[in-house]
Each structure stands twice: as structure tokens, then as C-alpha cells.
Point group: C3
Chain length 464, copies 3
């Protein structure tokens, strides 16, 4: 309810210029004549990517998080609730920091895309605590995570000025370490012993796989939504597709190799196949060659798979980090690889390879205002904007700084948030009601019948 | 079969000009030179919206209507059948009334979108009688509803000339009161006592939720598909998103508040979360401010929720109106709020706020041909079309007239259609075979096993 | 793994010109100035169609192939694996034959679309052997089928130069007869007796129907993705929609007529409703009139339905062709009808009806270079390219040649591939483990409980 009031307070519109408040138009309305082609409105560039990301957030994530046998409602519904709240909250917070002029927040589809990215951050973190948090806890987590993320994003983009088209640093690393911070505080020792309800059913596995497929199919839109239009966006789409393809094949091969009897595990296919999408993120719009994108997909996938196999159990038992969906494997390890790859791509990038688009992709490497080199370049590339005159090494260091500070801020924010979530008034579920829809939902009569039936089957089988 | 023949009769193409029959091209082919950019074809403006609406109609509606435990086939399949038939029939009927020139129906993707809107009307009405009608009855209902709708639409658009971008009046109110009329005639007293098969299962609830999510995700496309291109469409997308977000959060809050033990009900989440999309409909392209869109979403959601809780049982018991999916809550009450909001938005709209686009959105308020004020305005806004010179109050009255006449015509049409559907030759299912796939489908061996198993489980449980 | 290396070898990028390797740009980069509108990049024309086709391949096909009760994982997961592999492999093979210049394969979203078409070929063939092949066999099948297809495609497009916008000849006929060839060699006599696991469950039927709906909804994008932009693409979309609508209604009518008690069969609705999309394929971009598209949809649907009813059992029993999903009905018979219709459309096409676009759609009928008629035409139609001067009859003969050679090559290729797949090292499943996820997957505890429970239910019922 208070969100509506905030919206009301923040977004007011009184005068003719205020039209901008609700619309991201190319120019001010007074310059607009009837000759302006309505199809030039920014909505037509952004909306197709927006709907793709909507499907990923609400249907892809929702189905993937519904993989527990008795927590299908919880996975899909809490994803729906958390996502809706996080997007609204992010519109306000990001708007306040990044998209306000004259005290007004400007709103267009592009801002919805930005808000959905903030929402993706919250949903990834949600993955670490899936099944052991109440909806109230999730809302509080979103309430706290979105501002921490928005401030980090704003600082990194405004002061560190990094290259991170696919959001490997800002989205995936942030979300991962924030989520790990939260789950560290919410540690439940008894879950390490295994939980009777912490498993899948045939239908829930299929549903989660469908979620994976929706994420897989639209991931290129996610990674390319905020790149420069034209060649850069084209490249981002292709690299993401290549990275995903590589990680999918690798995931199948590794799953068959690492599981006993060479059988495939649905958990691997649901999660590890997506690793490539994260791994290409930081360099997705650069000219890294298809081969590099492919190699990145394979590396990310291998790291992710080994993480699920060896690192996650270790973290849970030794470091008290119970990472329910393994976000550290799918977003943390792969994010780190992606950042490293991004830095390499920056170090080897040269004007010769990129041509005039060099100073568009690496805008901060253009010479500063007043530099005679800038004028020279502007003769060749009309419209070139002055930059910061950074060298490749400097840019690389800023990337490193962004990684380190993002991880630091997010882990610290996650720990604090975890402490807030421990408040009993947020009614966390008791240990034996984790992964259980019955606590929060009116369930239909056939709820949990499969398992109880299974017991009877076993009984009947044994009496036969 | 006869549809094909009608298509054949109506849509004939003999000469060079006839190319227009199948294509909605910007100009006649003779003016077309090779310099025409093929990307200017209207298909590129409309097709993305068309595919989004297709997903809503066939997958969104289909899954949402499959929420009954034993009527999953019926929900999805009859939705598929009815939708396909209604679209084809609407192409012909709407074509005859609105899109024919020189005795030929012109066909383009834009006409398919219009036909899908007519189809949505039929599917909403279907919601009122879900589970208690045979496919033959549904086809007859579509056969009768589409022409009544098309004529109403044509009269309202041609003579009353109203603002209703999201179709709150023409689509939602019409569909609702038509459906209520039909279900009133098809009243089955014994259903008021509760029906053994009128409930959900764990999987059917998840499937229906997925349908909801598809509708939620693409609703902005639905509400904006027929607005003016450019800013107006951008605004319609944003307002719909805001309205849906508001109603989703409100629905969660109210569901927890109104159900016992604070548990969430899946039926609420599947239906009430969508109320905001309807409520913003009539004013979706106007400059109503995000705050107003948010407030509309909350109001619509509250009305819808209370309707499910208190009004639907009352209607069923006292007024003999058995509204199976509660369309009166989701489309009727919200539609009325939307119309009221649209009228308010019209009354307070001023040239100062809207700028030159005022006479585009409110085309009927532009001065009439010959009025000296028109010439003045045309100096400022080149290309301005003459209108009807309506004042805000006049336009508001026309809106009211449209609402009243739409409700009257649709309810009357629904009652008559209901009488036709009562004919025994349409083989309506008997009372105890309602909500039952076995009547119309060859069902697989595990059909209905959950419930029968449940009984055994209970037996076993009690003997333990 | 080797694919990555091949990619690396084949796609190398060293110099400024090499930017083309990864991007399908309108002109070479040196001609590119900052005045180029980035929105002119080909990606914006192709990407919406690409995502639609992605949904069809991964979610539509995947869900549709998951219709077996105990082979849901197998259907969706092996579809995922095979599709990913086939696309990558097709990028390389098609790239080598069609899209390489100066020894480099050029890659853009348009090439991904082409590769997804090759992938669709493999997935259709997969339908013939669903449930009785190991993932290794499927990969080998893709490994062999893609090059045979790519060479056939290249020869047909380069030398025979046919009209086949929707791929009825190249995609559907090729895929069908290749698949039949494979399944002929992999004949398993005992499957003709019926297999205990070769049936559906309530949930698997709903899942498969959802796959059908995704295919249905996006089929217009599939059929129009590679047509000429503008009117042609618009027409292809409309014709596909009309064809699908016709076949859907026909399928419902025939299913009720041909099944006992007038009940609908889910298998019919899942498959036969799609027949119209294939049938309009070969003439989808021509001016065949909506009535002809409608008639084609009905004819294709009828052939397909009768095929399922009478031809498939005959093929299995007499010709040793066990066609698991009935691809011969959905892609073979309909493909043949489509080719015939395409030839008719070519024979009756005239300059008068098509206007200047005649020589765009039928590019090979334009006069040859140097022909004085060409100059005359170029006065009327600036920019007209010289063609081959074919008459309608000649073009029709080339179409026939393409059909015959495609069927011949694909059937032969399928037979050879089948022989390779018989190698024991590819670990085909034993007869009683066909249609069984347990062989290749770690299955959850409730796997197959429905059937075993059913037995208990029956037992309990009979003891009651």
C-alpha cells in the first residue's frame, strides 16, 4: 500500500513538460511536430526485449524455483510476489538515483527493464534460501536488497564506469554473495542431515525443466537488452547463444560422466546448462570471437558442475552456507570467470579490431575533452563523445575494483539482511515445515498423496 | 466446412487491386515503386503484439481454464476449439461490418488482432459456464455471441465514438454480462450444493497459475495493441504494467487477510492478481499519471476479491447466476470501475496537459469541419483532422451511453443465447458428468486415480 | 568438445574486415559512417522471428515429444540435447556450404534461423524413433543428418532454384523420409504387439498439448521467417494462420467422427491440428487467396487424420516402418499435398495478379541478363534483377525434380544412418526398456507410481 503512496508522491505530473515523467521520448514535446514518426518512440526498441525478460522473470524463474515436490506453489507464487514487489520498489529506488530530473522520476519501458534486472538480483538471492523463508521474510529481503543493489549499481556505473553488458558483475555476483550472506545467517543445522521434503517429483522436475528452457531461450534478450543498439546488440545475442550452446553440451557430457551408471541428473540439466549465459556476460558485446564465447561457455559450465558436486556440500557442512539452489555455482563461480574474461577482452581490445565502434563500446577510453587527440579522432569519427582517456590497464583495474567492491558490499549487505530476517515477527517456518506448501497455502486434497501412496505401494509390494 | 465456403465467397480476388484484399498495405499497389521500404509494411508494427495476444488466448486462457482437477483436457481443448472457431467467425463478421470495401473483406494482421479481441470476449463468457457445457454448445455460443458483439462494437465505434483503448467496455463488460445471461438460463440447482468434481488438484493449480502468469506478462500488449502508435502505446504499456503490479500486491495482501489462518488461496492468486489489467483499460492511453493507474489497480483488485468472497455466492444462491470462474468479479466489477475512471479521465483532460496529442487521443473533441477554431488549431498542429466538436461532458455522456447499451445488449443477447443452448440436440452434460473429461475424451488409464487413491490412502491411514 | 575446436578453426577473425565474420552487416565497415542508423541492423528484422522459432524448437517440440507417460524426461531432455547439438553443427555445415566468403563463415541471427530449420529437420526425424533410441544414437543421427540435409538444401537452392518459403519440401519431406529410413532399419518386431509403457498419462497429455499450442501459436513465424520482407512476409503469416485454423476445426470434427462414441482423442488434437501449417508451406508467400489456404488446411488435416488411422498401422505391420509419432502423417502426406499446391500456384501465377512483385517472388522467371525484355521490365520496375527466364512449366518441373530428389536422398540417407545407429556401441535400449526414463535418468521416488498405484486401486476396487 505504501508503495502506491510513494509512487504518488514521487511521480507527480503537473505541466506540459511533465509528459516526460511517464514517457521516455527522444526529444522534449515542444520540439515535436507532426512530422515525428511515432515509430521512432523508444518503446519499439525496448519492448520486445522487455517482454522476453518478463517471461524469464515470471515464468522461467517461477517454474525453475518450483522444483521441490511439495513446494511447487511456494516456488512459483513467492517468485511472483517477490518479483512484482521488487520491480515496483526498484522503479522508485533506481529512479531516485539514476532516472530523476527536476525532482521527478522518468518512466519508460527502458526503466522497467532496469527494474527487472534489479528484480532478477533479488530472485537469484531468493534461490539461496528457497523453502526456508516465509513470504514476509522474502518481502523484507527485497525491501533491503533493492536499495543496496541500486546504490552499488549507481556508484559502479557513475564512478567506476565499467563494462558489464550482461550484468555478470552487477547482477550475478551481487545477487550471489548477497544471497550467501543471508543464508549464512539463516543457517539451520538440521537441514544438513537431509530433509524428508527436500526432493523432487516427476512432475516438478518437468516443470522446472520447462523453466530452464524459457530462461535458455530468452537469455540472449537478457544479456543484450541494455547494450548499444546495432552491431553491439547483434553481437551480444550471438555470443550468448554460443555460450549457452557450449555449456549445454558440456553439461550433458559432464552429468553423464560424473553420475553413477552414466545416468543424467535432472538437477544438472535444469541448472548447469544455463552457466554459459552468465559466463559470457561481462564481455558479451565485445569482439571476443565465437570461439572465445564457446570456450567461456564450456569453462563456466565445468566450474558450475564441479561446484555442485564438491563445493556446495563443503560450503554447507564447513562454512554453514546452505545454498538451496546452488546459486554460488550458477552465478558466483561463473560470474567470476566472466569478470576475468571481460578483463582479458579489455586488455587485448584494440582500435584496429573494433574500428570506429571502439570508442562506443569502451566509451571511457576516448580522450578527454580538450585533448588534441580527441579532435583528430572526431575528424575520423564524427559525433565521438569525449571520454576519460583511460588506458586498457586502467580500465582493467576499474573492473577489478568493481568486482571486489561489489562482492564486499553484497556479502556485507546480505549478512545484515539475514540478521533482520531472523526477527521472529517475520514468522520463519519451523525446520520440519520447510519446503512445505501446507504452511502458507490452502492445498488441494491430493497434496502430498504421491509420497503417502508410495509408502502404501511399498507396503503392498512387500506384502505381495 | 461452411466457413471455408463463406471465406471463399466473401474474399475473392480477381484483379491487381485485389492484392489489398489480403494485405493491409499503406497505399494501393500502383503507387508502389521499388523505393517503398518493405519494412514500412504494417505487419511489423502489429505482428509482435499479435503473437503476444496469441499466447494469451491459446496458452494463457487455456491453462487458466484447466484448473479443475478432472477437467484439464476440457479446459485447454475446448478453449482451443472455441478460440479457433471464434477468430475465424469474427474475421468474417467484423470484416463484413468494419473492414470491407467494394464488397471485399480486407485482411491483415491488424484484423487478426481485432478478431482475437472478439475471441477473447467469447472465452471470457465461456468462463461462466465452464464445465457444464458440451463443445457443441460452446460452438453455438460463439456462433451467436460473435455477431452480437461485432454489431455492438460497430455501432459503438461508429455512432457513439467512445474512448476505450483497453476494451474495458466493449470487451470485458460485454463478455461478462453476456456470459451471465447464458449461465442464468443454464442454471443447474444441484450445482449450488457443491459438486464432487468441482475442485482442483496440485498439478491443475500449478497449470492454472502458469496460465495466469502468461496473461499477466502479456497483458500490456493486449491493452496497447490498438492504441495510437508512439507515445500513446508507450503509455498504455506502462499503465497496464503499473495497474497489474498494484493489483498483484493487493491480491496477496487481501488473500492472506481474508482466508482463515492467513493462508493464501491459489484461486485468488490465479484470478484476482489480474484485476488491475482490466481496471486501467478504459483510460489506459490517457495521461492519468502512474499514481492513478496504481490506485485503479488496487481498487479493481479489492472489488474483485470482495466479489469472489461475497457477491458470487449471493448471485448463485439468490439470483440463479452460477458464475463458474467468477467472471463477474474479474471482468464485470473491474470493468465498471474502469469505465468510471475513463469518464473521470475524460472530464479532467485538458489541452494543456496533453499538448498537441490531445486531439489525437480525443479525436471526437476536435472542432468540426468549417469551424474557424479548427483552422486556428491546424496552424499549430499541422495535419489535425476535423472532429465532432464534443465537449468533455458530451464525450462523458457518450461513454455512459456506451456502457449502458453494451450491458443491455450483451445481457439480452446472453439470455437468448442461453435459451438456444438449452436445446437437447446440443447434448449438454448431465449434472453428475459436469467438470468431467471422461464424457468427451478418451482418457488415459491414470485419469482420476488421485482421488480414488486418496480414498485408499484414507482407508489405509485409518486402518493403521 | 570438438565442435568448439572446429568453430575455433573455421571462424577466425584477424583484421578489421573480419568484423563481418560475426556480424551480418549491410555493408563493409569501412563504408560505415556514424550516420548509419543502428536500427537498420539486420538483427531487428530477424530477431523477433528467431525467438519465436526458439520457443517452438525448445519448448514446443520438447513438450510435444514428452507425451509418453514414463518418457517425459526423455522427450524434453533429449529434444534439448539434440536440438542444441544440431544447431551448432548446422551453423558449421551450412556455413561451410552457403555462408562462407574468403574461407570464413559469416554469422548473424539469420544464420541461426537457418540452423534452427536444420535442427527442426533432425527433431522431426527424431519423432519417428522416439523412445527407442539412446541419446548417443540421437547425437549420431544429428551428426549424419545435418550434413546430408545441408548438402541437399544447398544443391536444391543453388541448382534447382525452387520456391519453398515454408520449407515443405526441404524441411518436412526431407525430415519425414529420413526418419522413416532410420526407423525402418531400427525395426523392433515386438513393438508391434504393443508395449506396456507406450501410453500417456493425464499430465503428459496436458504437457504435450501445451507443446502443440506453442507450435500452433508461433507457426506463422516459422513459415515466414525466410520470406521476402514486406508484403510477402505479411501474406505468409496470414496464410499460415488461415491454414492452421482450418486444420484445427477439421481435426476436431474428424476426431469426433472417427473415434468411438464421438469422443475426442488427445493424440489427434496434439498432432493433427498442426497439419495446416505444413500444408500451406510451399505456397505460403504466393497470392493463393485465403480460400485456397483454408482448403489446403482442410485437405492436409484430412490426409493426416486418415494417415494416423489407417496408414500408420499398415506401415508398421506390413512395411516394418514403426513411425512412433506418426511423422509420415504430419510431415510426409501434408508435405506432398503442399508441394502439389505449390506447383499449382506456380502454374497459375501471372504478372497481372502479382504486379511488380511477381519477379521478386518468382525470381527465376525474370528474363536473363541481356534479354531486351529485361530492359523493358526494368523501365517499369527499377532495380529488377535478371533471372533465369524460366516459364511457369519449367519452374514447375524444377519443383517436381526437387521433391523427387529430396525424397530419394533423404530416404537413402536415413537408411544408411539407421545402419550406423545399429552399432551396439551406441547402446540402444533393450525392447522392454523402451519409452522408459529410468534407463537414462536418475528418477524421483514417485516415478511410475501412478501405474503401480492403479494396480492397487484395481485390486482394492475388486476386493471392495
Amino acid at each position: 500500500m505504501h508503495t502506491a503512496m510513494r509512487l504518488n508522491e514521487v511521480i507527480t505530473k503537473k505541466s506540459k513538460e511533465a509528459k516526460l515523467v511517464l514517457l521516455n521520448m527522444p526529444g522534449p514535446p515542444k520540439n515535436r511536430t507532426n512530422k515525428t514518426n511515432p515509430m521512432d518512440n523508444a518503446v519499439y526498441k525496448d519492448y520486445p526485449f522487455f517482454t522476453d525478460i518478463q517471461v524469464m522473470i515470471f515464468i522461467g524463474f517461477g517454474s525453475l524455483l518450483a522444483f521441490f515436490r511439495l513446494y511447487g506453489f511456494g516456488g512459483m507464487v513467492f517468485n511472483f510476489l517477490t518479483a512484482t514487489f521488487a520491480i515496483q520498489w526498484a522503479i522508485l529506488v533506481q529512479g531516485y538515483f539514476q532516472f530523476s530530473h527536476d525532482g521527478k522520476i522518468h518512466l519508460g519501458v527502458i526503466n522497467l527493464i532496469n527494474a527487472e534486472f534489479a528484480c532478477a538480483v533479488v530472485l537469484i538471492s531468493f534461490g539461496a534460501v528457497l523453502g526456508k523463508t516465509s513470504p514476509l521474510q522474502l518481502l523484507v529481503m527485497a525491501l533491503l536488497e533493492v536499495p543496496v543493489f541500486a546504490v552499488t549499481e549507481w556508484v559502479v556505473l557513475k564512478y567506476l564506469k565499467i563494462n558489464d553488458a550482461g550484468g555478470s558483475i552487477l547482477i550475478h555476483l551481487f545477487a550471489c554473495y548477497f544471497g550467501l550472506g543471508v543464508t549464512f545467517v539463516l543457517y539451520r543445522p538440521c537441514l544438513n542431515e537431509g530433509h524428508a521434503k527436500e526432493n523432487t517429483s516427476y512432475q516438478s522436475d518437468i516443470l522446472a525443466l520447462m523453466g530452464t528452457l524459457f530462461l535458455w531461450v530468452f537469455w540472449p534478450s537478457f544479456n543484450s537488452a541494455l547494450t548499444l543498439k546495432g552491431d553491439d546488440q547483434h553481437r551480444a545475442i550471438l555470443h550468448t547463444f554460443i555460450g549457452l550452446s557450449a555449456s549445454t553440451l558440456t553439461a550433458f557430457a559432464l552429468s553423464a560422466m560424473l553420475n553413477k551408471n552414466g545416468k543424467l541428473s535432472m538437477a544438472d540439466i535444469q541448472n548447469v546448462t544455463l552457466a554459459g549465459g552468465v559466463t559470457v556476460g561481462a564481455s558479451v558485446d565485445m569482439m571476443i570471437t565465437p570461439a572465445a564465447a564457446y570456450a567461456l561457455g564450456m569453462m563456466g559450465c565445468t566450474a558450475c558442475m564441479l561446484g555442485y558436486k564438491y563445493l556446495s556440500p563443503f560450503l554447507a557442512r564447513r562454512l554453514r552456507i546452505q545454498d538451496q539452489c546452488g546459486i554460488h555455482n550458477l552465478h558466483g563461480l561463473t560470474g567470476l570467470i566472466s569478470c576475468a574474461a571481460g578483463i582479458c577482452a579489455i586488455l587485448i581490445a584494440s582500435e584496429e579490431v573494433y574500428g570506429p565502434s571502439f570508442y562506443e563500446i569502451f566509451a571511457h577510453r576516448a580522450p578527454v575533452e580538450g585533448d588534441p587527440k580527441l579532435q583528430e579522432l572526431q575528424m575520423l569519427i564524427p559525433g565521438l563523445q569525449p571520454g576519460l582517456g583511460r588506458t586498457a590497464q586502467e580500465q582493467a583495474l576499474f573492473q577489478v575494483a568493481a568486482v571486489v567492491s561489489t562482492i564486499g558490499v553484497s556479502a556485507f549487505g546480505g549478512l545484515l539482511t539475514g540478521c533482520v530476517l531472523k526477527m521472529p515477527c517475520l514468522s520463519p517456518p519451523s525446520d520440519d515445515l520447510c519446503f512445505d506448501d501446507e504452511l502458507f497455502f490452502e492445498v488441494p486434497p491430493d497434496y502430498d498423496s504421491p509420497l503417502r501412496l508410495k509408502n502404501i505401494v511399498t507396503m503392498n509390494d512387500s506384502t505381495d
